[in-house]
Amino acid sequence: MDTLTSFPNPVRSIFEATRDDSVIVNIGPSHPATHGTVQIIAELDGERVLRTDVHCGYLHRGFEKECEDHTWHNLIPYVDRLNYVSALVNDFAYCDAVEQLMGVEITPRCRYLRTLLSEYSRVVDHLTCVAAGLMEMGAMTAFLYLVMVRDFMYEHLAALTGARVTYSYGRIGGLARDLPDGWLVRLEEILVQYEEFVGRVHALVDRNRIFIDRLRDVGTITTADALSLGCTGPILRSTGVPRDLRKDTPYLAYAELDFDIPVGIKGDNYDRYFVRMREMDESVYMIRQLAQMLPEGPINVDDRRCTFPEKTLVYSQIESLINHFKLVMDGPSVPPGEIYCAHEAPNGELGFYLVSTGGGTPYKVHVRSPSFVHMGAASRMLDGGQLADIVPTFGSINMIGGECDR
């Protein structure tokens, strides 16, 4: 069919086959192990990977361009769709950036609640990553154990926010709503389930010869390379350095919490698996502390520049009606300025670079997404390995298409 051949190739590889006996293979963009749409062009010598060229962008949907056309509030559902596995962390990082630009300080209850939900999201994200990574190596039982617990958490978050995956729960200056009755009781039940099933996965995998052979010394990256390539989060920590924004530049309520930063030994796939598993335990430990510390009080700041008035007042007072109207039509008024605000997302440093020229619409929104930067480092982990190792190594990087391609 001539139409098929007449479409131009959307990507151009940086290399051609250099030897008579090497072969170029396309992996993805449509492949079950690419977790979305990433294309890896690999030059192979037998089954050994000589070099790779990683292409992303198949999921690019103009997020940053679209943001320049909406009010600050309207972006919250968009930022949910960056890392859609832990959408609440995106919400809170974005809201924190806007609040700092506006000079708004959130209420204590909101601060603790955001911290608790960030850690809960981290558990969900790591569960997904570890489960998918193990499934790709054939561990169906471990996958089902972890994803079952994840689904308890999804349902539990749906009881709070009304949605399973993309929550739109953060608000500039607070949160959409307070905890429903009994939410913390159910939380503890789920954490007990989590411990039960993660314990079983540890027993199945940690000392399992098959997994050690597939994971140990595979996809290794050194600390110096990881720093130079901009790696953050579990990838950097797996190389043995305890770099974590929650400790280094504490935000939300992290300064008041007791927790450790798990690190790996040599930055291979096994270390990344284990760092994620241990980080989940630390997150659960933090969630239990936060559930005890959670103060009573309002969840939204009393600031007419960003917080919506009570619905009953909107229908009874002209001032509140105008306030509501102005917030919807014009958006919250953010003073001119710029900010780079970073939170420790499950995958690494998630930064929002916002530029405001005043008014209700951002002038520029840029996301420093860990997945995109890690895709730039992926070649370093894939080159020199086996073709079959591309799948577990790629899985351990935990590329999320939504935030990588934006």
């Binding site: 131009p8 959307p10 992303c56 962008g57 103009g62 940053e64 420093r368």
Partner: protein, 158 residues
């Protein structure tokens, strides 16, 4: 607050690096001329311990004589502070030096900035599209690129 004290000492030490420096929301901001970018980045890395290049992007200010502002963010894992370098370049020659020789992460992030704003990076020889595709015309994050413009690779069906 150990972090705040570090910030003050660093500010004293850092100011001689380049022209005007301000602190904005806990981040040092330096406004540079294009020629100063690579030497400043090298000093930041070698003398002040800024070992991570976090991010490369740009801001478009149409109407300004120097239309594009290329923005680099750095992080020091030792001092736990961030630095932002802002380099203004003109629309007719939007080119700055690549930092690829200093930081491995520059290669990928400069490609994205080139995609979105058409900024050239002298010394980066791999500026193929990364988020866009081969043959895409224009730079979508420039303010004069209409949001609704479509460039489908495969024609839509009627």
């Amino acid at each position: 607050m150990a972090a705040a004290r570090d910030l003050e000492t660093l500010q004293r030490e850092l100011v001689p690096v380049a022209g005007a420096a301000t602190v904005s929301h806990g981040c040092f901001v330096f406004a540079l001329a294009p020629g100063e970018l690579a030497p400043t980045a090298r000093r930041l890395r070698d003398e002040f311990g800024f070992d991570v290049l976090l991010d490369v992007t740009a801001v478009d200010w149409p109407g300004d004589a120097l239309r594009f502002e290329v923005v680099h963010h750095f992080y020091s894992t030792a001092h736990k502070v961030r630095v932002r370098l802002k380099t203004r370049v003109a629309a007719d020659e939007p080119v700055v030096d690549s930092l690829g020789a200093l930081y491995g992460s520059a290669a990928f992030m400069e490609r994205e900035c080139h995609d979105m704003y058409g900024i050239g990076f002298r010394g980066n020889f791999d500026l193929r599209p990364i988020l866009l595709y081969e043959g895409f015309v224009g730079h979508p994050l420039r303010k004069d690129y209409p949001k609704q413009r479509e460039q489908p690779l495969v024609p839509y069906r009627d």
